[in-house]
């Protein structure tokens, strides 16, 4: 078992997320995080999906994703092959925040303070899951009112561009 990032490039149609996720549920695979966004090519959407499984399973899943009519291309990568990032937001009680050793924690973790009001303070931290989790653990000593972490966004290290893949697809069709 290993953590993989799957990138799925699709047309921009209603319901595609459902079709994509069915490929995982059919094989009883649990998705750890999923992020949908636009890609660098106009009209092409990308899903970044993170899960833990075996390489054999992930290969089969990627083939079944590519088989979907409206999927242009799907790839999988081990963590080493991608540059990835997540973002987390933390809401704390402003009184608690200013009385504790919050400054130290924020400095140590290179976090940002996004918003301060009379009632609450919101801190932002980008990084890998371990980093955002470590900040959460430290802030818990002060008390975290609300915590949210995004799914992974990921860029692959190989230099071949999506446009090149799309051109190859065009040539095959």
């Amino acid at each position: 078992m290993q953590r993989f990032t799957i990138s799925v490039f699709t047309e921009d149609f209603i319901g595609l997320l459902n079709r994509v996720s069915i490929v995982f549920t059919r094989r009883h695979l649990n998705i750890e995080s999923i992020t949908a966004s636009e890609s660098e090519v106009k009209g092409v959407h990308r899903y970044t999906i993170v899960l833990r499984t075996t390489e054999e399973q992930v290969q089969k899943v990627v083939k079944q994703l590519e088989r979907l009519v409206d999927v242009l291309k799907a790839f999988y990568h081990a963590n080493d092959d991608t540059i990835y990032q997540e973002i987390a937001l933390y809401k704390l009680n402003t009184d608690a925040f200013s009385s504790g050793n919050a400054e130290m924690i924020v400095r140590q973790h290179h976090a940002r303070i996004l918003s301060v009001t009379k009632d609450y303070t919101v801190i932002e931290k980008t990084g890998h899951k371990e980093d955002t989790q470590a900040l959460f653990t430290d802030l818990e000593t002060i008390g975290v009112l609300e915590f949210a972490r995004s799914g992974r966004v990921s860029i692959t290290k190989p230099m071949k561009s999506l446009a090149t893949y799309l051109n190859e697809l065009e040539a095959l069709n």
Partner: protein
């Protein structure tokens, strides 16, 4: 005032050559070469049915008695004709009743286009009367599906629907059209689809793959060929024959590959899998090169994968990249359409013979004949057996009928013993194993090939799942020959209970109505045969009768299908008794 506006609108649309979405649906079907539709009307699809009324001379509609029947009929139609089967259904329950047929068509790669009506687009998501999320529900069981909420999108969506359904590895497509889109007027200008940028139906042949596969085959001392439905779908029967005869390799078939190769071909060594023939199953674990063509190594074919053909190099000719290495590792994958792949591969092969290897199949075949086949086909006494009924019907139809089977013991027996001269003459529910499939599928097959004899073998259990389709057969006056092999049991489940559950016959004892009287109520002639002496005459009467006929044959109550590979066993552990 309102009438004037309506009239003005009509005038305007005539000038602009506008038509309704509903009429466009019918026109598109005609442009796509559809001549027959199976369906059932209801509220949300009424505009389409209204448009159909104006085209009823050009487009034949068959009113089935249940939407599930419509899908299976369309499957039967598609499987024997090679064309896309088309269904209409209304929203809500009409749409959900399609699901079993869609799932069956999905797993057996049958091209279908199902068109469902949907509530008005303003009501979507409000739990309106007969609203159901059929696009969501049908997603796992369709190759593609789409909801249309404006008539302007209909041409593009339906064109893509037909293209996707019939191209590449075929499959079912569902298009859900809201009622307002059916009413909406728009300027019609249809162009069929020849390309979808994200979808490659046929992978291009790769010469290096072909050369590698050819090398393995040329060096093979003991090659074994597995023939799947991919050969039928690609219409590669001739290419298959040339390929086989050039290398002199024995060929066995999957349930859905049945009829691709004539039964009496000297290289045809029989059926694979759980109830297949003795020799090809045992030899799977002895061959040195296993050549799989258009098949997906289903678990009913492979038995225990850990002990499946481990000694062999596997050559896999397949159109769907996702099937490569899915269940069995392919040393030499050849991606492409079976027709193109076989043709190109054959050119690279050296003519060969494998007589000793072939003879080793004959020896096992003799053993199976002695222990199973002869006693099954030619019993001298005792209760009637399914196999002898199948043999006699096959002989009486000169081995040239379309065989439609349901699911269970009779299906395995009929597939084992019915003989074929021509391709696409077998229709059955393979992957999904849908009881109730045969009666509607048979009427669909008869619609596609009205001049050919269509015989449907069905068990007493499966027949009672969709027997309402007798009404369709009556209304359309279809000369389907229905043979119920009645053992008063859900036979296959009972067999498993006998073998693996200590004969605890839990809920497999099933009673039946008077089937002959039931057929009679639908104006369909029939008779029941209890004794061997009456069988031949009854079959002759059935086949000579000008119209549908129901023949009920009372067969051995606790008969078992052998050979058999038990679940979890290896193919070479196939047992004869």
């Amino acid at each position: 005032m309102e009438t004037t506006t309506l009239k003005n609108k009509e005038v305007l649309s005539t000038v602009l050559q506008e038509i309704s979405g509903a009429e466009a649906v019918i026109k598109i079907l005609l442009e796509e070469g559809v001549d027959t539709v199976f369906g059932y009307p209801g509220g949300a699809i009424m505009p389409v049915y209204d448009a159909l009324y104006g085209y009823r001379e050009q487009l034949k509609h068959v009113l089935t008695r249940h939407e599930q029947g419509a899908t299976h009929a369309a499957q039967g139609y598609a499987r024997v004709s090679g064309k896309v089967g088309v269904c209409f259904a209304t929203s809500g329950p009409g749409a959900t009743n399609l699901i079993t047929g869609l799932a069956d068509a999905m797993i057996d790669s049958t091209p279908l286009v199902c068109i469902t009506g949907q509530v008005h687009s303003s009501l979507l998501g409000t739990d309106a009367f007969q609203e159901t999320d059929v696009v969501g529900i049908s997603m796992p069981v369709t190759k593609w599906n789409c909801q249309v909420t404006s008539a302007k999108d209909l041409e593009k969506v339906l064109a893509k629907a037909f293209y996707v359904a019939r191209s590449g590895r075929p499959g079912p497509v569902l298009v859900d059209i809201t009622k307002d889109a059916q009413f909406e007027l728009f300027e019609y200008n249809y162009k069929s689809c020849t390309k979808v940028r994200s979808y490659i139906p046929k992978p291009r042949l790769d010469l290096s793959q072909l050369v590698f596969a050819a090398d393995l085959i040329n060096q093979a001392k003991k090659p074994l060929v597995l023939v799947g439905q991919g050969v039928l779908l690609a219409e590669a029967e001739t290419e298959l024959k040339i390929f086989l005869e050039k290398i002199g390799a024995p060929a066995a078939w999957t349930l859905l590959g049945l009829s691709a190769l004539p039964s009496d071909h000297y290289l045809n060594v029989g059926m694979l899998g759980m109830h297949g023939n003795y020799a090809p199953n045992i030899k799977t674990n002895e061959c040195d090169v296993l050549i799989a063509i258009g098949m997906r190594f289903d678990d009913r074919v492979t038995g225990d994968l850990k002990r499946y053909a481990k000694q062999a190099k596997v050559v896999h000719l397949e159109i769907d990249p996702a099937e490569i290495n899915k269940n069995v590792y392919a040393h030499a994958p050849v991606l492409g359409d079976a027709k193109e792949s076989l043709k190109a591969l054959t050119e690279l092969l050296v003519p060969n013979e494998h007589d000793t290897w072939l003879n080793s199949f004959r020896l096992l075949e003799e053993e199976e004949k002695k222990q199973v086949i002869t006693p099954q086909l030619h019993p001298n006494e005792g209760e009637l057996l399914m196999a002898e009924v199948v043999r006699r019907v096959s002989e009486a139809t000169l081995h040239d009928a379309v065989l439609v089977t349901d699911v269970g013991q009779h299906q395995m027996v009929a597939s084992r013993y019915f003989k074929f001269k021509n391709s696409k003459n077998s229709v059955t529910s393979g992957g999904l194993g849908t009881m109730g499939f045969a009666l509607p599928a048979a009427l669909g097959a008869k619609m596609a090939k009205p001049k050919q004899t269509v015989v449907a073998f069905i068990g007493d259990g499966g027949f009672q799942m969709t027997l309402q389709e007798l009404g369709t057969i009556q209304q359309e006056n279809l000369a389907v020959k229905i043979i119920i092999l009645n053992n008063n049991y859900l036979g296959m489940v009972r067999q498993w209970q006998e073998l693996f559950f200590e004969r605890r016959y839990s809920e497999t004892n099933i009673s039946s109505p008077n089937f002959v009287a039931l057929a009679g109520a639908y104006g369909i002639r029939g008779q029941r045969v209890n004794e061997r002496v009456n069988l031949d005459e009854a079959i002759t009467e059935m086949l000579e009768h000008d119209g549908a006929y129901l023949l009920e044959v009372m067969v051995k109550k606790e008969g078992n299908v052998f050979p058999m590979i038990e679940t979890g066993s290896s193919v070479s552990e196939i047992r004869l008794s």
